[in-house]
Structures are given as structure tokens and as C-alpha cells.
């Protein structure tokens, strides 16, 4: 498509649309916007800088030698068109119109055409902003093209095997807490009166547990002598003996002897093994 850099609009034989009773004849021809939705035109731009960039690109203006006069004309033409159609123009667009007008007026002033004109070129700031904006506009486009989650790539997951169970982190218990729990039990002494907190040494209770375990490991059946460990010495033998007596008393084990002086057998009262 060939077009003159200076002409923004293209003559159309028929009105594009009727907006509020008025024929809309002109629209930017390379904007992909339905003519009856001209209002969207503003939305298509991310503000006046974006819009100016569009105009500059469309007309192949050189940013270095920005023709402020022409660009201002084009810009104002749009602003006027939108105002005629009673669009609500964002303040930024009007500020930009004012800025362009100011640059234009300063360029027209003769003293600015001096030797240092380039340094004080009122267009410089606008050019700088346009350049900076265009860089980030492009960066946004580039970012949008990166493969991203949800749209282009999805996490690949495997389910945990059936035998999986999470790692249990157990709470810490202080020994003092244990003693405090014991003290609570002792404080409830009334309840305890009816039950026997007996004076056996804990070693006897522990030995009772050990003999029961030993019995379980041996199909619920042990020779009496197997309950003792000689290398524990006398004290150990006594503890084991007391434990067997206590176990018998609590009917947890049975002692049997088939004949006088024969081997005594220790059997679990209930053989689970």
C-alpha cells in the first residue's frame, strides 16, 4: 500500500459509519478497528506516546529529525475527530496536544534558529520519551512471546506411589513434662487409693516386660532357666525371679513342672505366638 507521508486519512466514497447521526468518513485506514466502534481507537493505544509512535511509524517520520509541525497536525486531527464524536478523551492525550503545540510554537520563534539550536531543540525531550517508551513497548511484546506457564508449558507431575507416607515430625517432649504428668497422677491420690501403686522396683517391672517379650519371641514357651542371665550376677537373678513371681501373680504367665525337680516351664498365659 502506497501512501503519502503527509496524508493521514484516505478518501472514501461512502461514509464508514453513522455515529450519533453524523457520517464518519475518515478513519486511520491501517487500524484494525471496525469503523462503527471508533471509540475503541483510543483503547487500542496505551496512551499518547503509543499513539504518537503509531503516527510516526505510519508516516515513516524520522525521530531524529522529528517534523513537529506535521505530527502536531496529524495528532490534532485525531483529537478533533474524537472530540466531534464526543468521546471522552483521556487527560494524557490533551496534555500531549498542549505539549506538541508548545514545541511547535518554540520552533517558530526566530531566536531558536541560532547556532546552538540543536542543543536547545525543544523536540529533544519528546524524542527521548518516545524512544524510551518504544524500547519498553517492544520489551513487553518480547516478554509476551516467551513460553510461559498456563499458556505454553504445563508442569509435568507424577503421583506418589501407593506405599508413600509423609515424614512425621514428632513433637519434642521434655523430661520435666513427663514428671509433671506423673505429679498430676499422684495429686489425684484419692483415685489412687483404690489402686495399687506398688513398691516394686522399676527394674522388676522392666524385667517383667522383658520376660514377656522373650516369651513372645520363643513361641510363648521358655525353660525357667532361660529367664535368667547368669552374667547379671545375684542382683539380676533376684530381679528376674521377682519378675517371674509377679508375672505369675498377675496371671500373665504360668509355671508348670511335670515332676519334682524336673525342669520348670514358663508359659505365656495367652499364647499369641
Amino acid at each position: 500500500m502506497s501512501e503519502q507521508p503527509s496524508s493521514l486519512t484516505i478518501q472514501q466514497p461512502l461514509p464508514l459509519a453513522y455515529v450519533r447521526g453524523e457520517a464518519v468518513l475518515n478513519r486511520p485506514d491501517d487500524l484494525y478497528i471496525p469503523p462503527d466502534a471508533l471509540e475503541i481507537l483510543l483503547d487500542a493505544f496505551e496512551g499518547p506516546l503509543d499513539f504518537l509512535l503509531y503516527l510516526i511509524r505510519k508516516h515513516k517520520f524520522d525521530l531524529v529529525d522529528l517534523p513537529v509541525n506535521e505530527i502536531t497536525l496529524q495528532y490534532m486531527e485525531y483529537i478533533n475527530l474524537m472530540q466531534e464524536l464526543n468521546f471522552e478523551l483521556a487527560a494524557e492525550y490533551l496534555v500531549m496536544a498542549a505539549m506538541l503545540a508548545e514545541i511547535k510554537s518554540r520552533l517558530l520563534l526566530p531566536q531558536l534558529l541560532s547556532a546552538q539550536a540543536e542543543e536547545h531543540d525543544p523536540r529533544a525531550e519528546l524524542v527521548r520519551r518516545l524512544q524510551e517508551y518504544e524500547i519498553f513497548k517492544q520489551a513487553a511484546t518480547d516478554l509476551d512471546q516467551l513460553p510461559r506457564q498456563e499458556r505454553d508449558i504445563m508442569p509435568a507431575k507424577a503421583t506418589l506411589a501407593d506405599n508413600f507416607s509423609p515424614l512425621l515430625i514428632f513433637p519434642d517432649v521434655d523430661f520435666a513434662e513427663l514428671l509433671s504428668a506423673l505429679s498430676d497422677i499422684v495429686k489425684r491420690a484419692n483415685a489412687l487409693q483404690h489402686h495399687q501403686i506398688k513398691r516394686e522396683h522399676l527394674s522388676t517391672r522392666a524385667r517383667m516386660s522383658r520376660i514377656l517379650e522373650l516369651l513372645q519371641q520363643h513361641a510363648g514357651y521358655l525353660d525357667f532357666t532361660e529367664c535368667f542371665e547368669i552374667n547379671e550376677g545375684r542382683a539380676g537373678v533376684v530381679v528376674s525371679f521377682l519378675a517371674i513371681l509377679e508375672l505369675t501373680k498377675e496371671k500373665l504367665v504360668r509355671l508348670t513342672q511335670v515332676a519334682p525337680y524336673a525342669q520348670i516351664h514358663v508359659k505365656l498365659a495367652i499364647n499369641e505366638a
Partner: protein
Amino acid sequence: MARKINDVQLMQLLEAAIFAADKPLSRAELQASVLAEFAVSSRKLTQALQQLQHDYSARGIQLLETASGYRFYTRPEFSEPLASLWPERSPRYSRAVLETLVLIAYRQPITRGEIEEIRGVTVSTQIIRTLTERGWVKVVGHKDVPGRPGLYATTAAFLDYFGLTHLNALPPLTEFTAILGEEHAQQVSTVEMTGELH
């Protein structure tokens, strides 16, 4: 119009779909979704899925076909090290748990019923489970009474945790009552007196 897809692409597409889905995918679901645009015969689909299963046969995950379809699973042998990725902090132990523990320590071997009698309240299954899961308590036998209740005892892990070489290292009940002070000591000594001494 059905689009063309070669064997390698088919396998890759199935692989990506099964990995990305939130649930197992059946052959029908695969045909109706990711393969909808391609004409893939049932035979081709089977081949591709078999190829995938084979490709993963020596890896850390495997492709399994379950009742609802195909899905990748981690290998069971890695469940143990993987557990550390999902640590679950269990709540602090209640008073009831600690009292039960201390009674098992001092009165072992002891049944649940006996603990209940002393504590005066029910000992829930949960309390016992908490202590057995911790590895501090285990059943060492059964009492010859109706219901044949389990006899609980403490374990070596219990002693290790509290830095005790032996149950004897636990403060003796009598000494302990002294720590409690005069009033309690008196109460306790009453208990001891009335308790069956031998």
C-alpha cells in the same frame, strides 16, 4: 480433516498429556482430547503407550495403567527418601498422652484397662496409637482375662529419647513424692500404705 502425526510425535504428545493431566487419562479420554485432531488408530495408540511404558522401565517413575487410565507414578522404592519432601508436624502431646506414657513406664506391663482405672478416665485408642507410632510403647503380651487385652511396656527408644540407661533411672515414686512437697507426700504415703505391699 485429520492432521498427520508420526510415531515419535505421538509418543511425545501422549507423554506430555499424561504428565500434565491432573488425573489418570483413559484411552478414550486421550482420543477425545489431545488426539482429537489426529486420526490415531487404536493399534497405534497401544503401541505408543507400550513404548512409553518401556522407556520408563528403568527410571525413577513409571507409567501405570489403572482402572481409570494411564498415569505416571513414582517408584515405590523411592517412597522412603521422598517422604522428607512432605514433612508433617504432629501436634504436641496432650496431658492424657503424657500421663498414659508415664503410667506405662512405671507400671509396665500394664493393660489399657488398668491405666484407665488409675487415671479415672478412658484411654482413647488415639492415645495408644500416638505412643506406639512414636515407638515409645509396644505390646509385650496379653493378659489372661476376658478380651485378652494387650500388655503395654516401654521400649529402648523411649529410654534413649530421655537419655535413660535403664528404667531404674526414672525417679522412684517414693522419692518423687518427696519432691511434691509435704501435703502430697502424706497423701502418697497413705496410698503406699494401703497399697498391697509385699
